[in-house]
């Protein structure tokens, strides 16, 4: 295991992200509605009088041990008790991140528990209904569950599974890590005021023309041919995805880390050093590349745990060194398998990749910039969420970093809640097709269309031209034809 002095690559410059959020009202801070958050290892607290030992991490920290024990004990009890009623339990396949979960709704709070790593660990969260009301956040249990799972996956990406810590022998180190990670990441967590966005958890792709995309593919092919040690590549332009070779299980997590943490923090120096913009650089790791000193301490590259299935069988976690190279708004993320004994990524390799990529990448980036710069998308008079589960592609006018603007104000909390309820109650997860029109009490229309598992949600503000169902149906078909023609078939 790498030492704890590893660069704090996941939380640097948290202040800038916070500033960012205060201007955008699409999101709220998770911590503002949080009642408690815990990670427990039930097997450690089996002995009488040592029940508190099952608590691995608890937020808020000031909470008394008794209450912590009580909360985790209750969660464990809920899980065990409800187990009795699960006749045909879905076998938790190793190959997916669909964790077993339980939800509990009390008068004051909404609880979600997930069982992870062969049910050895229990993670739980409770959100306060009152605080959610204050923050105008509609509580939607699937979204809370997704936020909880995402928090776990983010930890796993940087540190590996909980089980890998062998916590029985090394309890304090495990707790240190959990504390180190979650005390910093939980305060930074954001929830969309439209909880559906957190629930779907897709990534935003950049739409571009075929010939231009060919440039990207050809550049990546050339790069991988030249540097065969590069195992996986991901290509972003601004904060949108163009290309990836990662497992779908990792994609949303790493995408979120890059677009919400790493890239926003790297834009600062880019704006200052405007004179040398066409020059590429690495966002992590050493600045000085001309020497051959080993990469140690602050200069070492981040290590991430990603799923791999190169033998074509089940996916398994594998450690990778992450190289993030950026030039003119485009970011190439490269992953090189990490072995403790072998010599890993060296300055020499970084130097060679830099030379290989620099001019070509800036050319490709320039072309992308020209193309997307020429397409000015008009603001829409409605809100939308589009999600394709097979590609994980998601676009929405309600996401926090949405480029596609809408001139309509953000829908009120009851409309957002109604959207969630509509999806939860009328649109089945297992069905590939579905359609639903709902009118809110305040005359907002919600249109949900599901075709071939692709989901489109339209949120249309009150207007005189949309009073009847026929009106809204014709408006819907108009919107689909004009805005979602390429990605959504009617």
């Amino acid at each position: 295991m790498e030492s704890i002095t590893n660069p704090l690559y996941f939380f640097t410059g948290s202040s800038s992200t916070q500033n960012h959020s205060s201007t955008s009202s699409n999101v709220i801070r998770f911590i503002d509605i949080l009642d408690f958050f815990f990670i427990a290892h039930p097997a450690s607290g089996r002995k009488e009088g040592e029940e508190h030992k099952r608590i691995m991490y608890f937020h808020p920290k000031g909470e008394s041990v008794d209450r912590q024990t009580e909360v985790t004990g209750f969660a464990e009890a809920v899980v065990n008790f409800t187990d009795n009623f699960l006749t045909s339990r879905e076998i938790n396949s190793h190959d997916s991140d669909n964790f077993d979960y339980r939800t509990v709704s009390t008068q004051k709070t909404e609880h979600v528990y997930i069982q992870i790593e062969d049910n050895n660990f229990l993670m739980g969260v409770a959100l306060s209904k009152q605080l959610a009301n204050v923050s105008e956040y509609p509580l939607f249990q699937p979204a809370i569950r997704s936020i909880l799972c995402d928090a776990y996956k983010m930890f796993r990406m940087f540190f590996g599974t909980y089980s890998s810590f062998n916590h029985q022998e090394n309890d304090s180190k495990f707790k240190d890590r959990l504390d180190f990670f979650f005390s910093r990441s939980v305060p930074l967590l954001k929830c969309h005021k439209m909880p559906l966005l957190d629930h779907l958890g897709g990534v935003e792709f950049l739409r571009m023309s075929g010939p231009l995309y060919l440039n990207v593919v050809s550049l990546i092919n050339e790069l991988q041919e030249e540097f065969q040690q590069i195992d996986k590549i991901m290509f972003l332009y601004q904060d949108k995805l163009l290309y990836y070779q990662l497992s779908r299980r990792d994609l949303p997590t790493i995408f979120r880390y890059l677009t919400q943490n790493l890239l926003p923090n790297s834009i600062g120096p880019e704006l200052e050093g405007a004179n040398n913009r066409a020059k590429g650089r690495y966002l992590r790791g050493p600045i000085e590349l001309s020497t051959d000193e080993p990469l140690l301490g602050d200069e070492s590259l981040p290590v991430v745990h990603l799923f791999d299935n190169q033998n074509g069988e089940d996916e398994y976690l594998q450690r990778y060194q992450m190289l993030v190279y950026r030039c003119l708004n485009s970011t190439v993320c490269m992953f090189v398998k990490y072995n403790t004994e072998n010599t890993n990524v060296s300055r020499r390799l970084l130097r060679n990749i830099d030379q290989f990529l620099e001019s070509e990448l800036s050319q490709v980036a320039n072309r992308i910039g020209e193309e997307i710069g020429s397409e000015v998308s008009e603001p829409t008079d409605f809100h939308y969420i589009y999600f394709n589960p097979s590609s994980l592609s998601m676009t929405s006018s309600l996401s926090s970093r949405s480029s596609s603007s809408s001139k309509v104000a953000i829908p009120p909390v009851e409309v957002n809640r109604l959207v969630c309820d509509t999806i939860g109650k009328f649109i089945s997860d297992s069905e590939e097709f579905g359609e639903c029109f709902v009118k809110s009490e305040t005359d907002w229309w919600i249109v949900v269309k599901k075709v071939n598992s692709r989901l489109l949600v339209l949120i249309i503000p009150p207007s005189s031209s949309t009073s009847s169902l026929a009106d809204i149906q014709s408006k819907t078909s108009h919107i689909v034809r004009h805005h979602f023609d390429a990605i959504f078939f009617t």
């Binding site: 010939p211 060919l214 593919v217 050809s218 092919n221 050339e222 041919e225 030249e226």
Partner: protein, 478 residues
């Protein structure tokens, strides 16, 4: 990679007999003819060329030993200089008592002549120390008339017939060059420019023999041999502009790696420098890494004689004289040879496959050889994807995209003309049938590799703004 004597022609070598008979040979670079004078023409004037079989054989009066012999473009007139101040025009097709008719011309000032050159069939150019004069020769009346004259100081002058470019050297060390276009019965002065010839106390003046003019890749270059006391010599290339408003610019410097005299050829846009003491020939291609000023030889090789010469002739002898573009004259044995490229040997001589292929792309009439070599390299996976893309990009340009580039540079009035360079183009259908389909059908190749090659090709088409023709077969492979 260089072959001597694919074409050759015999002539009577220079000699002086005890009986007073003498034979002298002259090479006229403009018409590319070798002229043999026996007893100063009294026993015969014979001229031959490698390019055609036409042999002129006449007799003239013996009026002293000429210093130059020049033939007009149509080969009907011959100008020869027998005294310092005058030139004689010999009418090769008009005889009287078996002797050709002649007339004598001089410059207006009667000054010594530095150069006598044919500009057109009936236009003779005379250069003296202070002027250049263009004369019209009236064959019927046997008179001459000054069409145009211009005052210019000249230490020496050379004439480059393909572009009708007269290059005059003047200035303190003769290193100031004044280019003049002699066309349409007119003199058009271009911007003069200074060259660095490595002058020092021991080498005061820039000499005529150290300057050469050639057309390379559609541009005219003045090549200057720059000597250095400490290091090896360089061959500097000054690129001539097409218009009269800009001076020539120093463009490339070829590193020769030796000192002293050398022979220069320009064959198929390659500069070939022969070094007699080491029996080596250096081949330079300025398009290889054309962005850098300094160029090392692409290939260092030795000339091989063509198999038809038995016994093989001696090579790099001190009797060799070389003339642009590709003439070698062995004055001892009396043979004029052509020197030709043998591009099929470049697989052995150029080890880097991508350089070798790019070399072949730039050669004239080597499409077939290029396609075979390219396919072989692709099959052997000898190229990286990026190198493949570079090569695709070179061959997938179309005429339209060339024209586009040319238009941009066509702002000023063009005064200098030269042979255009045509890049190799391979049509999409040809690429399909001779490269892509054979690759696809090669079962030993990884499918992903072949698909990547096709993607690179597709990208190059788009990059060059070429509309891809429907590639039915290739798309099904992806």
């Amino acid at each position: 990679m260089l072959e001597l004597g694919l074409k050759f022609i015999n002539f009577e070598p220079d000699r002086s007999f005890n009986d007073g008979n003498i034979t002298r040979n002259y090479f006229d670079a403009s018409s590319q003819r070798i002229c043999t004078m026996r007893n100063n023409g009294a026993l015969g004037l014979t001229s031959k060329s490698l390019e055609n079989d036409k042999i002129t054989s006449v007799r003239t009066r013996d009026r002293g030993e000429p210093s130059t012999v020049k033939f007009s473009v149509d080969g009907r007139l011959c100008a020869t200089q027998r005294t310092a101040t005058s030139a004689d025009v010999i009418f090769l097709e008009k005889t009287e008592n078996n002797l050709c008719l002649e007339m004598t011309v001089t410059a207006k000032s009667k000054e010594p002549l530095l150069a006598v050159e044919w500009v057109a069939n009936n236009q003779l150019l005379l250069v003296t120390n202070h002027s250049a004069e263009l004369l019209y020769i009236n064959e019927d009346k046997k008179t001459s008339k000054v069409l145009k004259s211009t005052n210019v100081n000249a230490a020496w002058a050379i004439f480059y017939a393909p572009s009708q470019l007269l290059l005059i050297a003047n200035g303190a060390s003769c290193s100031n060059l004044q280019p003049i276009i002699v066309a349409h019965s007119n003199f058009t002065r271009m911007k003069n420019f200074e060259v660095d010839f490595g002058g020092s106390l021991s080498r005061e003046n820039f000499l005529e023999k150290d300057a050469t003019i050639a057309t390379i890749y559609g541009k005219v270059y003045v090549m200057v041999l720059r000597y250095s006391v400490r290091n090896s010599s360089m061959l500097d290339l000054y690129e001539m502009p097409f218009d009269a408003t800009n001076p020539a610019i120093f463009k490339y410097s070829l590193i020769l790696g030796f000192n002293g005299q050398c022979g220069i050829h320009v064959i198929d846009n390659l500069i070939i420098v022969h070094h007699q003491p080491t029996c080596k020939s250096l081949i330079f291609d300025i398009q290889v890494s054309s962005n850098s000023k300094s160029h090392s030889p692409l290939v260092t090789t030795t000339i091989e004689p063509h198999i038809q010469h038995q016994p093989p002739p001696y090579l790099y002898t001190p009797f060799w004289f070389t003339f642009l573009p590709n003439v070698v004259i062995d004055s001892n044995s009396g043979i004029m040879y052509s020197l030709d490229l043998k591009n099929s040997k470049c697989m052995i001589e150029i080890s880097e496959k991508n350089t070798m292929l790019e070399y072949l792309i730039r050669r004239k009439n080597e499409k077939k050889l290029f396609i075979t070599s390219f396919l072989n390299c692709l099959r052997a996976r000898a190229l990286s994807l990026r190198q493949i893309r570079r090569i695709f990009s070179m061959i997938s340009k179309t005429k339209e995209s060339f024209a586009k580039n040319e238009k941009d540079s066509k702002a000023p009035i063009i005064v200098l003309n030269c042979e255009k360079y045509e890049e190799l183009q391979i049509s999409q259908q040809e690429m399909q049938s001779s490269i892509l389909i054979p690759l696809r059908e090669d079962t030993s190749l990884n499918e992903g590799y072949v698909a990547n090659i096709m993607l690179q090709y597709l990208r190059c088409l788009y990059d060059n703004n070429v509309q891809p023709e429907s590639l039915k077969l290739s798309t099904s492979a992806m």
